[in-house]
């Protein structure tokens, strides 16, 4: 896949991006062929530093993993000081994944990031299952989702993407609400809430008890939701959920997504994205619109 493509005002270098929380701030992952990176989404950030949740934070499940990291991070000022200057010199775009406990916090964060060199766009996270306040709660009600989206929209000139939660009855309702509130693109979907018990201790395997399920286990669920989302809105949809190979990315593209994000696969293979982009060359034919 060569050439760049425009997704909601962000120029991606390829259709395959690194998903938030799976590529740090872009400086950590070794051995990734960065020429192939379409772009990256930073680890989710809040205005203030956050400690995250106690361990155990992850548990492997069949073909997947549960995580409850709790959006550990240094806060926006450290992100602007320590990472954004490096991003400004990279040839692929970096979006910042934006989080808040209130609509006001999302808006303030958006305003703070507006105009920061190195930041190419915002991905509003209204779908994190692992925080007690905000997060997913904004994402499962169309009015709240719209309120966050329009508050951010009013405070930034950057492209605004909204990352949707799968934990809703009708994702199209939320998707349309975000589109009407000014979103430039939608990321679909975040992790599914899950739980697993340890038989020896008879306790949940995660200290937070619940976690977000990712990995190939969720792929068909995610393809379905991305497809429904793509049919419901006219802004681009970026598909996410268990992509580990070019064929998996193709499923999301055929489902109507403009681009995809890869997450858990990077934990398994630091160069997963490079391999997926190379693999996609075999399928260029399939992506051409029919005559």
């Amino acid at each position: 896949m060569s050439g760049s493509l425009d997704v909601g005002g962000v120029r991606l270098k390829s259709p395959v991006m690194a998903a938030s929380g799976t590529f740090g701030y872009g400086t950590e992952v070794p051995l990734c062929d960065r020429r192939h990176l379409g772009g990256i989404v930073s680890k989710g950030i809040f205005l203030q530093p956050r400690l995250g949740t106690p361990p155990p934070r992850i548990a492997e499940t069949p073909s997947g993993m549960l995580n409850a990291i709790g959006l550990q991070g240094p806060g926006v000022e450290a992100l602007i000081r320590d990472y954004a200057p490096q991003w400004a010199s990279w040839d692929f775009p970096v979006l910042v994944n934006v989080n808040g406990e209130t609509v006001g916090e999302y808006a303030e964060l958006a305003a703070r990031l507006d105009g920061v060199p190195g930041v190419s766009g915002l991905e509003i996270n209204i779908s994190c299952p692992n925080v007690r306040e905000g997060g997913m709660f904004f994402g499962n009600d169309p009015r709240s989702a719209a309120a966050v989206t329009s508050a951010v929209r009013q405070r930034t000139s950057l492209p605004v993407w909204v990352k949707l939660t799968p934990a809703v009855t009708d994702i199209t309702e939320i998707a349309r609400a975000c589109e009407e509130a000014g979103a430039d693109a939608l990321s679909a979907v975040n992790t599914f809430v899950g739980m697993s018990f340890d038989l020896q201790s008879r306790q949940p395997r995660l200290a937070f008890h619940t976690g977000g399920l990712s990995g190939p286990a969720i792929r068909p669920l995610a393809v379905y939701l991305a497809h429904r989302t793509a049919r419901a809105v006219s802004i681009p949809v970026v598909g996410i959920g268990g992509i580990a190979a070019a064929e998996d990315a193709m499923e999301f593209l055929l489902a109507g997504c403009r681009a995809v994000q890869v997450g858990t696969a990077t934990f398994v293979d630091p160069n997963a994205i490079g391999k997926i982009v190379e693999g996609l060359r075999r399928y260029e034919e399939l992506l051409r619109p029919p005559d």
């Binding site: 929380g21 799976t22 590529f23 740090g24 950590e28 992952v29 070794p30 051995l31 680890k43 400690l51 995250g52 949740t53 106690p54 361990p55 155990p56 934070r57 992850i58 548990a59 492997e60 499940t61 069949p62 073909s63 997947g64 993993m65 995580n67 990291i69 550990q72 697993s196 018990f197 340890d198 038989l199 020896q200 201790s201 395997r205 200290a207 990995g215 190939p216 858990t264 990077t266 934990f267 398994v268 293979d269 630091p270 160069n271």
Partner: protein
């Protein structure tokens, strides 16, 4: 520098009851690994995520790990046939930091906590340090049969060999130098109480091993969580909030 190499299984030997050493040819890792660092192994077919192992020995082009079957990943590793490939990512993490001798290090290991000790002994000797090794297990049959030190001391929970008690109980006061320890987190907490300046290699669940997933959180006394895969797995014992680090890990992927 981190490498990801296809690594064929080249050797396998039993070192205690239900405890095995596997050797993989992984030249760039074998040549650069330091004591206390680890490799993250991927098996296909196998479980989704890699499995982290302290490097036990490095000899020429071969990296060795020590393991028991505790879950899906270790069972798969013990089923490998000679020549079968895994993907080996490493060396990862920050290992033991040793100052040049003269001086003395005391290695304290419990059960599979022997894992980083042969390399620690190698590096310590190379720096001119004298090495005493205290190793404990539940019973004689579970004591690792390989040891590499100037002097050895054993302990068993059931008293079948050596001191009746934990590895800590078997440390002769005259032998205490700079302490390097590895074993169950409960044992390491006891090490921390006695020797806060000891260096300990902790065990956590791990996602990526490269610093991005933040899954291997280690609670520090400074109040933060950091990453066993990057700032660790070796820490100053007194810098960890032991009560907040899971004392025992279960491994089976529930299916």
């Amino acid at each position: 520098m981190t490498y990801d190499v296809p690594a064929p299984l080249v050797s396998r030997r039993k070192v205690a009851r239900e405890m095995w050493v596997l050797g993989f040819e992984a030249a760039p890792i074998a040549r650069t690994v330091m004591a206390g660092q680890f490799v993250n192994l991927l098996m296909r077919p196998g479980p989704l995520l890699r499995r982290p192992f302290s490097v036990y020995r490095a000899d020429g082009d071969v990296v060795e790990i020590v393991l028991s079957a505790v879950g899906e990943g270790t069972e798969r590793l013990l089923d490998l046939t000679r020549g079968e490939l895994v993907s080996a990512l490493g060396p990862l993490g920050r290992g033991f930091q040793l100052d040049a001798g003269p001086g003395r290090v005391t290695l304290i290991s419990g059960g599979l906590g022997v894992a980083p000790m042969p390399l620690a002994a190698r590096d310590a000797r190379a720096l001119g340090l004298e090495v005493a090794w205290v190793h404990g297990a539940r019973t004689q049959a579970e004591l690792c049969s390989e040891a590499d030190a100037d002097r050895y001391y054993w302990a068993t929970d059931d008293g079948s060999t050596g001191v009746h008690g934990s590895a800590l109980d078997a440390v002769p006061p005259s032998e205490v130098g700079h302490v390097l320890a590895c074993g169950p987190n409960r044992m390491l907490a006891a090490v921390a109480a006695r020797w806060p300046d000891a260096q300990v290699a902790v065990e956590t669940y791990m996602g990526c091993g490269t610093g991005v997933c933040l899954g291997c959180a280690v609670p520090r006394t400074s109040g933060v969580y950091d990453r066993a895969c990057t700032e660790g797995p070796v820490y100053r014992a007194g810098s960890i909030r032991w009560a907040d680090l899971p004392a025992h890990l279960h491994y089976r992927v529930t299916a």
